[in-house]
Symmetry: C2
């Protein structure tokens, strides 16, 4: 009943991810996305009502893909200590196999215009974060955390620490060294040893 799409949403988002990874969020212009897939700019506006809608979607799709795998690892193991270390290791391993998406995520949602997102998109981002933090808080409780400060330390050990390790290497444009997973796992275990 209608002409079949030639430049569909995911194709445009793929191009946007590539552009963001190479030149940062500022390089993701509607014109650049259109050019990257060989479409006129009008076709991009046919899929996304505005640039900030596109930016939001690029961010959300990427972060949701990451969080899906991360939460799965977090809840896979029965032993909370093992789950924690596996999660930390997973962050590094995922970054290794998803270089462009990692480079994108390291910029953070603000760089993708978070302030201008639609309420629905902002809520999607919040929901993902709530879900993630909820799991981490539950794990922290299993590990014996009783004060908010202890829960924060668990979050630091499970998310921020491996991310910091990844950032150090990816920001310089380099590859992650082979021992990065081990370093992340060891560091996380150490931070949780004294909870």
């Amino acid at each position: 009943m209608a002409r079949p799409p030639r430049y569909d949403t995911s194709l445009l988002l793929d191009a946007a991810v590539r552009l963001a990874a190479e030149g940062g969020p500022a390089a993701v212009t509607m014109a650049a996305v259109a050019k990257a897939v060989g479409a006129p700019s009008g076709s991009v506006y046919h899929r996304f009502p505005s640039r900030s809608a596109l930016m939001a979607e690029v961010w959300l799709r990427t972060v949701e893909r990451f969080q899906e795998g991360y939460v799965a690892v977090l809840t896979a193991s029965g032993d909370p200590g093992q789950a924690a270390v596996a999660a930390s290791r997973h962050v590094v391993a995922w970054s290794r196999t998803h270089r462009e998406e990692t480079a994108l995520l390291l910029h953070g949602p603000e760089a993708f215009g978070r302030g201008a997102w639609s309420p629905e998109q902002a809520e999607r981002a919040d929901a993902g974060n709530r879900r993630l933090f909820g799991r981490i808080a539950a794990l922290a409780a299993e590990l014996g955390a009783r004060h908010p400060a202890q829960t924060e330390r668990v979050a630091l050990a499970l998310v921020d620490l491996p991310l910091a390790l990844v950032r150090r290497h990816v920001r310089g444009g380099g590859l992650l060294p082979a021992h990065a997973e081990q370093l992340a796992a060891d560091s996380t275990a150490l931070l949780l040893s004294d909870l």
Copy 2:
């Protein structure tokens, strides 16, 4: 012998820092800087030959101010373990008292157009980083590190970890909680305990 300056370099850089902290590096346009200090755009170009020269200078001045204090703390104490913990604590404390500059630094040099800097400016950035990493490597050696992987762990504990803690709170626009310094110090000490 000449007309006295009305908008001097540091005044323009101050405005640029404010703009970057509020709206990210993209908000630092020549027009915005000029407007912020009430000058015509020509006066900004009188001080800086191009936008990227301004961006580089904003970044360099800020990062050099931070590194100055950090290196001082790092080398102040005789005991390497104490120096390490003090350095970690200093990162958090400095962030608390320098909110705008912290927000700026968290974006990283690439966001300030590092690729387009002049060779002299790029070298200034490199020299600062070499100096900092040199001190950390020396401290790592004092702490008993023998392999590069161990030195990396020290860098993680002394720089990336406290920065990650700061990032978590500042990125959301919030204030650092009162116990942040303590958490940074404890975490750093734990990571170094098993070197």
